[in-house]
C-alpha cells in the first residue's frame, strides 16, 4: 500500500469513526469494508489458518462495534482495532486451552536468528501470483509470534511503539522478535526460491 493511500485511508476511517460516534450506525459497515481483510489476516497470523477464522474476525468486529464509543483517538483506529482483535483471539486460545505461542505472551522465541548471507537480487521479482503464493505459504509456516510482527510491520507499516501496543509487549521485545521473524523468513525464502528457481 502506498503512503498516499494510507493517508487517505486514515482520513476516511476517521470520518467513519466520527459519524459512528454521532449516531450513524451504518457507517460501521464502511469500517468493516475497509478492515475486513486485514483484521481477518491478523486473526490468521495469531491463530493460524483455520475454518473458524472468519467467524472469529466477525466476533472481533462485533467487539469493536460495542467498544467504538470508548475509543478516544489516543492511537490510530487500526492500532486500537488490532488490539481489540488480539484480545478476542486470546480468549479463543484460552477456550481451546492453549495460549502458549500467543504473540503477546512473554515467552521468548529462542536464540537470535542468524541472517543468511543474501543470495537474492536487491529487487526481487514478486509480482507473479505464483511467487506470492509461495511467499504466503512460507509466512504461514512461521510461528504465530513471527507471523504477527511481520504482518504488522511489513504490511501494516506499524512502528515499534504501535506493535508493542497491539501485542501488549515491551518495545524491546518487538525489536528482537521482528529481527528473528525477518531472519527466519529470509532463510526459508532463500531455500525455497533456490529450489524453485523463480525469477
Amino acid at each position: 500500500m502506498h503512503c498516499s493511500d494510507r493517508k487517505s485511508l486514515a482520513a476516511l476511517e476517521n470520518d467513519l469513526v466520527e459519524r459512528f460516534k454521532n449516531g450513524e450506525d451504518g457507517s460501521f459497515a464502511g469500517l468493516a469494508e475497509l478492515y475486513k481483510d486485514r483484521i481477518h489476516q491478523f486473526v490468521i497470523c495469531v491463530l493460524g489458518p483455520d475454518r473458524e477464522t472468519e467467524d472469529i474476525a466477525q466476533e472481533a468486529f462485533i467487539q469493536i462495534y460495542r467498544s467504538l464509543n470508548s475509543f478516544r483517538g489516543g492511537s490510530s483506529f487500526s492500532t486500537w482495532a488490532y488490539a481489540v482483535t488480539r484480545n478476542v483471539c486470546r480468549r479463543h486460545l484460552r477456550d481451546r486451552g492453549r495460549e502458549a505461542g500467543f504473540p503477546g505472551e512473554e515467552e521468548e522465541d529462542g536464540a537470535p536468528y542468524e541472517v543468511p548471507e543474501s543470495g537474492h537480487s536487491p529487487e526481487p521479482a514478486l509480482e507473479s501470483e505464483e511467487t506470492r503464493a509461495l511467499v504466503r505459504a512460507e509466512i504461514e509456516a512461521l510461528s504465530p509470534i513471527h507471523r504477527s510482527v511481520i504482518f504488522l510491520s511489513c504490511w501494516e507499516r506499524k512502528s515499534y511503539e504501535e506493535m508493542a501496543q497491539i501485542l501488549d509487549i515491551p518495545v524491546g521485545t518487538v525489536r528482537s522478535r521482528l529481527h528473528n521473524a525477518l531472519a527466519a523468513l529470509s532463510r526459508r525464502l532463500k531455500t525455497v526460491l533456490a529450489e524453485e528457481k523463480l525469477p
Binding site: R66, N69, L126, L178, H179
Partner: protein, 165 residues
C-alpha cells in the same frame, strides 16, 4: 563503527533509528560487505512479505456481520453504555432473576431475614419425640401462662434439658 547488531540492522531497515545512527550505519555499509549482505537478506524478506496482500474474506462478510450486529445488539444501546446487562441475553437475565428470587426466599425462611411470626416458645415433651406426640397439642395444664397454642414450637423431648431448664 563496528558491525551492526541484529536489532540495529532491523531498526535501520525499518527506519526506526535516529538520523545520526542512520548516517553512521550507511557509512559502515560502504565499508562492510558482511553487514551489507545481512541487510540485503532482511530487506528481501521484508519486501517479499509486503508484496503479499491479506487473504480476502468471503464476499458476504460485511452483510453477514451487519446482520449479526442487528440481530445480537438491537435491544442493547450499543456503544452508549457497555455494562453487564448489555452483555447478557434475555435467557440469562430471566435465569438471574429466578436465582435472585429463590435466594431471597431461602434467606427469609432460614431465619436470617425478618419472619412475621417468629417461634417464641420451645415446648419440651416427656419421652421420645414421636410423630403422634409432636403433632398432638399439649394439654392446657402444661402450657406456660400466657402462651397461646399457635405460638408454640413442638420440639424433640429432652428430659435432661427439661430438668436443667
Amino acid at each position: 563503527m563496528t558491525c551492526l547488531t541484529d536489532e540495529e540492522l532491523t531498526a535501520h531497515l525499518l527506519e526506526e533509528t535516529t538520523p545520526e545512527r542512520k548516517q553512521e550505519a550507511q557509512e559502515h555499509f560502504h565499508a562492510c560487505s558482511a553487514c551489507r549482505s545481512r541487510l540485503s537478506a532482511l530487506r528481501f524478506a521484508a519486501s517479499a512479505a509486503a508484496a503479499v496482500p491479506p487473504a480476502p474474506v468471503s464476499g458476504d462478510f460485511t452483510a453477514k456481520l451487519m446482520a449479526r450486529i442487528r440481530g445480537e445488539l438491537t435491544d442493547a444501546p450499543v456503544g452508549k453504555s457497555v455494562g453487564l446487562f448489555t452483555r447478557l441475553t434475555a435467557g440469562e437475565l430471566v435465569f438471574a432473576a429466578c436465582a435472585l428470587t429463590l435466594f431471597a426466599a431461602v434467606f427469609l425462611h432460614s431465619g436470617r431475614g425478618q419472619v412475621p411470626s417468629a417461634f417464641k416458645t420451645l415446648y419440651l415433651t416427656d419421652g421420645p419425640a414421636t410423630p403422634v406426640r409432636l403433632a398432638a397439642l399439649p394439654s392446657p395444664d402444661r402450657l406456660k401462662p400466657g402462651v397461646k397454642p399457635g405460638e408454640m414450637y413442638y420440639s424433640d423431648s429432652c428430659r435432661t434439658a427439661k430438668c436443667g431448664l
